[in-house]
Symmetry: C2
Subunit: 319 residues, 2 copies
C-alpha cells in the first residue's frame, strides 16, 4: 500500500505492507487524514519516532475479525491503544496506560497510509450528517473538550485562550459554548478574525496589557506563552497547559505556590461529545481547512502546514 | 518595647515604638512566637523585608478601639491583612488581596516584638484547652489544612508527602486523618521517627525507588523535591506545591501536559479547623518543639532553627 514513512526524513513508500488486524483490532481504510503540529514536531525529531505518522483520520472499517458488525462503518478512532488490564486501565484511565501505543506517535503506525489498525474499542461511528472533512477534526476537537472534561468552567468565568492556531481555534469555539467571558489572544490577525466572525472577542498579543483571568488556556506551544499565561491568571485561578514544549522551561514555582494557582496538564479528550458538537453544527471546522493534498504529496503538505498563518492541511488518502 | 528588627542583619531594638491600632485593628501583646522557614529566608534576603519579622504567634488583645469586646482575649491571627473592598476581597479571596500586607513578611511589622497590630477580623480566640505552646502552631497547621481545603483527598488515595521538616510534619499529621494510604519521604531518620511513632509509614529518600501516587505534596523547599514529586505522581494525579524556592526551577512542562498532572500551589489556610484539631488532640505539635529562647536572644534562636535536624524553635516574648 501507499504510506508515508518517517525515518528522520519523510519517505513515500509504495509497497508498504498492508497490516493485518490482531484479535480485538480492526483494519480501517483511511479516507482523509489531518496534519497536526505534533506531526510537524515528529518530523523535526520529537520522540524519535520511526514509522507511519498521522493520528487524525476518518476511514471505513474493512476487516475486524472479532467484530464483523463494524465492517463497512465510517469511523474515527481514539489514538491511545491501551492494554486494558494494568492498574491504570482498570482505574479507568486507559489514555494513560503505561503500556499503551499511540497511533502514529508511539509504537504504532498511523493514518498517513492507505490502511491503519486500531482496537475496535477505540472506534466511534461517524453520524451521516458529519462529512469526512469535518470528521477528520474529531481527534483535535476531543482534545479541546478535554478542558471542560477536566475542570469546571463557570459561565461567569473570565477565560483567556492564548494562541490562535489550530488547537486554539477549537478550544475557543468549545469554550465559547459555556457562555463564559472569553478572550482569545494571538499573533495572527487573519486567524483571530476567524474567531471574531463567530463573535469571540480577540486581541493581538502586542496589544494585551494587564489582564486577570479565572482561567487561562495555553495553546501557543512556546515557553513565552507559558510565562504570559502565568502572568495573566489570577490568584487561585487555573492555567490549563495544552501545549507541549521542546525541552524544559524555566518556571517560577514560588509564585505558583504563593498565588495558589492550579496548573492543569491537558491532552487527549473524549470523542462522543466532539461528534455531537459537529453533528449539531455547534462547532465549525471546515473554515480551518487551508489546503488538501493527495497522500503521495505528503512532503509538500507538511511544508505547507509548517508555514506561518496556515491552519489545517488535509491529506486525501482514498475516496 | 523590645523588638527584633531585620535590616539585612537581625537587630535587637530596646526602644522600638509601641504601635497604636488604627480603626478596625487591635494591639496584641505577644506571648510566644515561632520561627518559620520563611523567617530564615527573610534573614537571607528573601523579599528584601525590613521591619519586625515573625508571623506565628499567640497573644492577648490589649487594645481594640472599635471592638472592646476583644480586649483580654487570648488569640491567634491570620497573617494577611486585606483591604476588604477590592474585587479579589469581594470575590471571597482576601488572602490574595493585591493590596494586602502580611504580618512580618510584607508591609507590616510582625510577631518578634512585645506588641503587634492586626485587623480584628483576622483574630481567632484560642479555646482554653489549647496551651500557648500549641496555639503558636495554628498558623502553620492552617497552612497544612489548606491542602484538604483545596483538593479532595479520597480515603483510598495513595498520598506521598515529600519532606520531614516542620511543614511536612504538620501536613503528614493532617493527611493521616483522612484515612489515606500515606507515606512520608524525608532525609532525616529522627524526624521521620516522630511520624513513625504516630503510625505513619516513612522512608528515607535514598531508599525510595519507583513510586506512583495519586497525590504528592512537596514540602522540601528544594528544586530536587519538585523533580522527585513530578516523577512520583501518577498520570492525572495531583502535585501539591507547598514549597517556595529561591529563583526559578527548570521544569518539564511537556510531561505535565502529556500526563495531565495537576500542579496545585498552596499557601495560607483556614484557622478554625486548625484550632479544632488542636483542641480535640488530633494533631500533636508539642513534640515538634526543639528549643525555646527569650526574645532578646532571637539571633541565637534563628541560628538554632537553621541547624540541620532542628524542628520548631520558639521565642518567649511575654508571660
Amino acid at each position: 500500500m501507499l504510506a508515508v514513512y518517517l525515518n528522520r526524513e519523510l519517505e513515500i513508500r509504495h509497497n508498504y505492507p498492508v497490516p493485518s488486524p490482531p484479535p480485538g483490532e480492526a483494519r480501517i481504510r483511511v479516507k482523509i487524514a489531518g496534519i497536526c503540529n505534533t506531526d510537524l514536531e515528529l518530523r523535526r525529531g520529537y520522540l524519535d519516532f520511526r514509522g507511519v505518522p498521522g493520528h487524525e483520520f476518518v476511514g471505513v472499517v474493512e476487516e475486524a475479525p472479532d467484530h464483523p458488525e463494524w465492517i463497512g462503518k465510517r469511523v474515527v478512532g481514539e489514538i491511545n491503544a491501551a492494554c486494558g488490564i494494568c492498574p491504570t486501565c482498570r482505574a479507568g484511565r486507559p489514555t494513560h496506560c503505561p503500556n499503551r501505543t499511540t497511533l502514529g506517535i508511539s509504537g504504532r503506525d498511523g493514518a498517513f497510509a492507505e490502511y491503519l489498525l486500531l482496537p475496535v474499542v477505540n472506534l466511534h461511528e461517524v453520524p451521516p450528517e458529519v462529512p469526512d472533512e469535518a470528521a477528520v477534526f474529531v481527534e483535535p476537537l476531543a482534545a479541546a473538550l478535554e478542558i471542560p472534561q477536566q475542570i469546571h468552567i463557570h459561565p461567569t468565568d473570565r477565560v483567556v485562550v492564548l494562541g490562535d492556531g489550530k488547537l486554539g481555534q477549537l478550544v475557543a469555539q468549545v469554550l465559547q459554548l459555556t457562555g463564559c467571558d472569553l478572550l482569545v489572544i494571538g499573533r495572527n490577525r487573519n486567524k483571530l478574525d476567524l474567531l471574531a466572525r463567530r463573535g469571540i472577542p480577540t486581541m493581538l498579543v502586542d496589544e494585551a496589557g494587564a489582564l486577570s483571568a479565572d482561567v487561562v488556556v495555553e495553546c501557543t506551544g512556546s515557553p513565552e506563552g507559558f510565562h504570559l499565561a502565568r502572568r495573566w491568571v489570577r490568584p487561585r485561578g487555573t492555567l490549563v497547559l495544552k501545549s507541549t514544549y521542546h525541552g524544559t522551561v524555566e518556571a517560577n514555582l514560588t509564585m505558583i505556590a504563593v498565588d495558589e494557582v492550579a496548573v492543569i496538564g491537558s491532552r487527549c479528550g473524549p470523542f462522543p461529545p466532539a461528534l455531537r458538537l459537529l453533528q449539531q453544527g455547534l462547532v465549525d471546522v471546515l473554515s480551518l481547512i487551508h489546503a488538501r493534498y493527495p497522500l503521495r504529496e505528503a512532503a509538500q503538505a507538511f511544508d505547507h502546514a509548517a508555514r506561518k498563518g496556515v491552519l489545517k492541511v488535509l491529506l486525501d488518502v482514498s475516496p
